[in-house]
Symmetry: C2
Amino acid sequence: MTKVIERAEVAPEYISIGEAAERSGLTQRTLRYYEELGLLKPPARVARGQRLYTAGDLERIAQVRRMKDLLGFTLGEIKSVVEAEEAKQQLRTGYKQERSIKRKLKQMHDAAEITERQLRLVEEKIVQMQAMKKELARDLSGFRERITQMEQDVQTQ
Amino acid sequence: MTKVIERAEVAPEYISIGEAAERSGLTQRTLRYYEELGLLKPPARVARGQRLYTAGDLERIAQVRRMKDLLGFTLGEIKSVVEAEEAKQQLRTGYKQERSIKRKLKQMHDAAEITERQLRLVEEKIVQMQAMKKELARDLSGFRERITQMEQDVQTQ
DNA sequence: TCTACCGTTGACGTAAACGTTAAGGGCTGA
DNA sequence: TCAGCCCTTAACGTTTACGTCAACGGTAGA
């Protein structure tokens, strides 16, 4: 039996765009498009140009998908969220480089503000959805009540 | 059949498309478009053909807007929701017309099923959003902790 | 009576978010 | 060596969700 050398054996932490697409439920075109728009950071590349995605990239992709499909964000909105997140990340890593405490504080405040806005947005959506849920639940129980009533009517008929 | 309002009938509870647009925050074009797509039921008309919206219509418009902007539904998805709701409404009003109890029961079951599916969809979205909220809240408290820490450092410096 | 304004339908235009196709190259198993 | 994949970029096509414009009519005020 010939030994099969999978690319995964060479670098198990990297996956191709085809696999990334399959696992994320997006198309290859969409992944490239998101990268082009700046929603995903350019992944590593193999010498001849093929993209190599990491588990972290997949995580990011999943996050973008959630924002789009579940929260209904436009790609533009997602981009601003992603940019804010990048700023946060930069803050974390750049924390030690920055000598001025005052500047550190300001950056921290900025990051907190951005996060707060996003949090409020999500909270607002949750409230609206719960109202919707309540209404639906009320409708449903009404139907069920009437169904059992009708079934009893049929039996006692 | 669309109700046609005679001129003498036109009462203050009816508003023009211009006002409906202004109050709902949509454009006239959008209102006509939604009507065309079947998201809004054709409003009453004045003899000349001008649309007359009621408070109920405005309510419906607001609901559509919430689904679109807050929940991120596409117009197609909204249409299916609206159709389901119309079916429910029809059940309620048509309840007395239907003579066959068995058919009534079936319709009830259908309506309950539709509502249940919508309910589950909303519940799922809520769960995902709460996860997102949690993550954001965690980030935020982290920032705040560090901010107060840094502010103390500045003071004791 | 004229002008300004609000409304109508219909047709065409447009931005966003991809899908699809073209044209090409690398790797691998038979 | 070559078919069968998977990959690349580039360009054009498509759908959704409206915007915009044209051509027209009623109504109210000067």
